[in-house]
């Protein structure tokens, strides 16, 4: 028996990969359909370890797929629907040519639909997997929701994307899930926390549609992604609504839907017509489901079990922040002026418990008018207003965003109408870049990551009180109090020696006895305290010991790291001192000015 002949590329890399052209031929699909199938099923091109062998000795760089992936693609039933499309279009063309419109209509009705529902479960076996891919999904759908109909993108996509993201935002509001927001020159970045997962996405600024240069982006490819993500978000929405005990698709709680035939209660046709806008306004509560789903156990206490104390502390801090955030705007009634971008502001306020409204003419869903005296804040973005109510604060939109990031209502003074705003800082920290100077404004909003979280709050309080006080009067009061205190102290001091004195009326013996007794008395002992080691000292020693353990091989790297750190800390210290000096100078100048003014006033009075 002779040995089996081994041909080249029958084993190893040559047999693992398949070029795109061969894959298309194998699946009997056109490039268009193949691409669509790959995107929907999540099959991506691969880079082989040994390209030459994988390409069967051919030079250049081919697009390669794993052979297994292609077999897997071939097993999908979608492929049959895709193959049906070509003869279908041929039939339609034929009917059109014959001007047989009845046949054409019938064919259009029988258009083969490609159902991709099964793909979602296959690609995202658990719900968490789906949540993890939501960043991509939301960013793309928010973008496409703004698009007009473009060649290459089915006209229903923007419409459906708009619907689904509205549903998602409503859920974010109901779940009070918003965590962070950042306004960049590209758009608004939102971060929400749903079922313990952080989801971040970007929403473009709402200005006019700017068409993309077609050469850069393949719209057809993107529309396949959109198709997948529309289906994904639909199912995710369904599950999230169920988990939060809401009816899906969303129903307004203060609207009587059809089916209730009692006269007088039923909604009119016009009201129905206005319904989509009312839902899109994000300003009305949703109807709860009658069947409550039991809450899933949240892994809240996991940080207590965590081994890493730093991680545990961080999680604890994050949890406290979240709890504060959820009721941030509770009890506030905020009116949004028409020049302010409505949707992001309304989302922020509603998702954190505030009441919000706008001009009735601007959009549906306004709940109160501008002349309502109970309004606490009005968001404006113009240099001045003609008519102002004294019962409310007029603040710029950045106040809302900064407050969300700081997880506390920031003092309005620095955000008032027409005031130059403080910088809008990014809430997305880069923990690796912690060794840098942070101005007090930043500390106020985010606190310091390395230090206690409450420091930020303290700074904020201090700032607020500084702004409010009229410094001179306070100073005077303080002086008075100081004087009082010192008087009291001196009185006490005067009293003390009196108690110690022994009565002089007693006889001599008695006096001696008492003196001796005093000497004999057993004094209460004190426990000799050992000086406890200061924690900082201990930490420093620890660090030193650890640094001794660094291998010689890495010593140079370690030293350079330490040097860098020292340099950065020095810079931080320098800048902090500089700032303190500048502030002290400014304060002194202010005081001096006030004194001068007072003097002048005194002279005038005289």
């Amino acid at each position: 028996m002779g040995a089996i002949r081994k041909r080249k590329y029958e084993e190893g890399a040559g047999n693992l990969y398949i070029s795109r052209k061969r894959a298309m031929k194998k699946l009997q699909l056109t490039l268009k359909d193949f691409r669509k199938l790959c995107i929907l099923k999540g099959v991506y091109p691969r880079e082989p370890k040994r390209r030459k062998a994988a390409q069967h000795g051919k030079g250049g760089i081919q697009t390669l797929y794993a052979k297994k992936d292609i077999l897997f693609l071939g097993a999908d039933p979608m492929i049959w629907d895709m193959r049906k499309l070509k003869p279908h279009f041929k039939k339609m063309a034929k009917a059109k040519g014959r001007r047989d419109f009845r046949e054409l209509r019938a064919l259009a009705r029988r258009h083969p639909k490609i159902d991709i529902d099964h793909v979602i479960k296959e690609r995202y076996p658990s719900f968490i997997d789906a949540m993890k891919d939501l960043d991509d999904c939301l960013s793309l759908l928010f973008l496409f929701a703004q698009f007009p109909s473009i060649p290459g993108v089915p006209h229903k996509f923007p419409h459906e994307a708009q619907k689904l993201i509205t549903q998602f935002l409503l859920l974010v509001i109901e779940a009070r899930a918003l965590r962070r927001v950042f306004v960049s020159i590209k758009g608004y970045y939102f971060q929400v926390e749903l079922r313990g997962q952080l989801v971040t996405w970007i929403v473009p600024h709402q200005f006019g549609f700017v068409p993309t240069v077609k050469r850069n982006v393949d719209f057809k490819v993107m529309s396949h992604f959109v198709e997948l993500y529309i289906t994904l978000l639909g199912f995710v929405n369904f599950r999230l609504y169920q988990q939060h005990n809401l009816i899906y698709p969303p129903r307004l709680s203060n609207f009587t839907y059809g089916g209730n035939t009692r006269k007088g209660t039923e909604a009119k046709g016009t009201e129905y017509q206005a319904l989509p806008d009312r839902i899109a306004s994000l300003n009305e509560p949703l109807r709860k489901s009658r069947f409550t789903v039991p809450e899933e156990e949240q892994p809240l206490d996991s940080f207590l079990l965590s081994d890493n104390p730093d991680e545990a502390a961080r999680m604890q801090k994050e949890l406290e922040r979240t709890n504060k955030l959820k009721t941030l705007f509770n009890g506030l009634k905020i009116f949004v002026n028409r020049e302010v971008p409505r949707e992001p502001v309304v989302l922020c306020i509603r998702a954190l418990g505030g009441e919000v409204s706008w001009d009735k003419v601007l959009f549906a869903g306004a709940t109160f008018n501008e002349d309502d005296e109970t309004i606490t804040h009005q968001i404006v973005d113009r240099p001045s207003m003609d008519k102002q109510y004294i019962s409310r604060y007029y603040v710029q939109p950045q106040w809302v965003f900064d407050s969300v990031n700081a997880a506390q209502l920031l003092p309005v003074e620095r955000y008032l109408l027409g005031v130059v705003l403080p910088p809008h800082l990014s809430p997305f920290f880069d923990p690796t870049r912690d060794q840098r100077y942070k101005p007090p404004e930043e500390l106020e909003i985010f606190g310091s990551q390395s230090e206690e979280g409450s420091q930020g709050a303290k700074v904020a309080e201090k700032k607020a009180s500084e702004d409010e006080e009229s410094s001179e009067e306070d100073e005077e009061e303080n002086e008075d109090e100081d004087e009082k205190d010192s008087e009291e102290e001196s009185e006490e001091e005067a009293e003390e020696p009196k108690e110690d004195d022994i009565d002089e009326d007693l006889p001599e013996e008695e006096k001696q006895r008492l003196a001796k007794k005093k000497k004999m008395a057993v004094k209460k002992g004190t426990i000799a305290k050992e000086e406890p080691v200061k924690p900082e000292l201990e930490a420093r020693e620890d660090e030193y010991l650890r640094s001794r353990l660094v291998r010689n091989k890495h010593k140079r790297l370690f030293n350079s790291m330490m040097e860098g750190r020292k340099k950065r800390m020095k810079e931080v210290k320098l800048l902090t001192n500089k700032r303190a000096q500048l502030e002290a100078e400014a304060a002194a100048a202010k005081k001096e000015e006030k004194r001068q003014r007072k003097k002048a006033a005194a002279v005038l009075q005289a």
């Binding site: 091109p45 020159i185 590209k186 971008p341 809008h424 800082l425 404004e441």
Partner: protein, 425 residues
């Protein structure tokens, strides 16, 4: 004496001459009158008073208006039809004798009146003008509301369903290739499993939405903005440097030469070695100095040839070597029986090592950001930024930068989902 009207002489009309002689001026005059009448309409004397005159019941304001400004007068003039084109218009009242003359009707004229009516209604609806009856039609509104709802497929919690996974075929005795082939080419297609998750679902570690730099805020702090600009400048400088290098080593390396000179040079180079064109090549080669034979290879030394005995010895030696080797191996096998425990340990260690190495390889693969997937290299989008003059510090006057769609596309290429391509159709 009464003037006797001379009797018209009626000559013979037999010949052409006779016909020419006849006077038909009166007939022609009459016809001419008639045509004129047709062109201009009914003569004034035959028209009714109402057609000619009208009773003026309104004050004529137009004449009273005095066009004060020059511009107003100009505008009035502009409103009038242009005189030079008036001559092109027909002033005849005669109707076209050929009723079915081929006149090109406009697209609007060609439309069916019913269709035109429907279009007009659509236009009205677009403007928001709807019949009251229709607005109040509740049933219709509800139907429309439900039609607008997104597709009805999202009616189930797909992650709560119990789906039996396809049973795998136990194939310990079939090799992997055969198994896959059978699965893919028979009715057992649904038993083909999705390739492993770690290799497929996310071939990347880069986050889908990359977080913005602090300097990209609409109202950044001074330090953040400066550091962003610095990053961008550094990148741009590196690009410029690479570009300058390319120019230096390519186009700057060669001197620019006028065309005729370049042609002459080309001719010179190409004709080198051709005797007819090159005077150097035309010179005869120097003849060989002596008449000796020159071989390319060195001569074979007959004395060094291996004889049969030598060859046999070599073979014998080789055979012996092999035999010894086998013997040694057999001996080692016998000795190894006592080292079985050691072997087991070695195998375990080896497997552990392999496992670790493969895990590390996968980890490394994921850590590598972008792989080479196609002919074109991946190029990252440039960072977006506002110049200091564009930063107004107010949300209202923000100047949006960057294209999110292009960013998404680029991000997918970066995460190895799409292969980079400049132009896809």
């Amino acid at each position: 004496m009464a003037v006797v009207k001379a009797k018209k002489r009626i000559g013979s009309k037999k010949t052409k001459k006779g016909w020419r002689r006849s006077d038909i001026q009166d007939v022609e005059d009459f016809l001419e009158d008639k045509r004129l009448e047709e062109r201009l309409g009914v003569p004034f004397k035959d028209r009714k008073d109402e057609e000619l005159f009208s009773v003026d019941t309104k004050a004529d304001n137009d004449n009273l208006k005095y066009q004060s400004s020059k511009e107003a007068r100009r505008n009035q003039l502009l409103a009038k039809p242009v005189r030079c084109f008036e001559i092109l218009k027909s002033d005849s009242k005669v109707q076209d004798p050929i009723a079915k003359r081929n006149i090109r009707r406009s697209a609007e004229d060609r439309q069916h009146p019913a269709f035109r009516k429907r279009e007009e209604e659509k236009l009205k609806r677009k403007k928001g003008i709807v019949k009251r009856k229709e607005v109040d039609n509740r049933a219709q509104a509800i139907r429309k509301f439900h039609r607008q709802a997104p597709r009805s497929g999202f009616k189930k919690d797909i992650w709560n369903e119990e789906v039996a996974l396809p049973a795998t075929v136990k194939t310990d005795w079939v090799n992997e290739g055969t198994r896959l082939h059978v699965l893919a080419n028979t009715r057992m297609k649904d038993k083909l499993r999705r390739p492993k998750e770690k290799n497929l679902s996310k071939p990347y570690k880069t986050p889908a939405v990359e977080l913005p730099l602090p300097g990209q805020s609409y109202n950044p702090s001074y330090e953040d903005h400066i550091s962003l600009l610095e990053t961008i400048t550094t990148k741009e400088q590196a690009l410029a440097k690479a570009d300058a290098h390319l120019t230096r080593v390519t186009s700057a390396m060669f001197r620019k030469v006028p065309r005729h000179e370049a042609e002459a040079q080309y001719f010179r180079e190409m004709s080198q070695g051709v005797p007819a064109l090159d005077p150097e090549a035309a010179k005869p080669d120097e003849p060989l100095s002596d008449n000796e034979y020159h071989a390319v290879n060195p001569p074979v030394d007959r004395l060094k040839k291996k004889d049969r005995k030598k060859r046999r010895n070599i073979v014998e030696e080789k055979r012996l070597q092999n035999k010894n080797k086998l013997l040694k191996a057999e001996k080692k096998k016998l000795a190894d029986i006592y080292r079985l425990n050691q072997f087991e340990e070695e195998i375990v260690n080896q497997e552990e090592k392999t496992q670790k190495r493969s895990e590390k390889r996968i980890e490394n693969d994921l850590n590598r950001t972008t792989r080479r997937l196609g002919r074109q290299k991946f190029e990252e989008n440039e960072l977006d930024f506002n110049m200091a003059s564009d930063l107004k510090g107010s949300l209202r006057s923000i100047k949006p930068e960057g294209n999110i769609l292009s960013d998404r596309y680029n991000s997918m290429q970066k995460r190895n989902i799409l292969e980079p391509a400049s132009h896809q159709l």
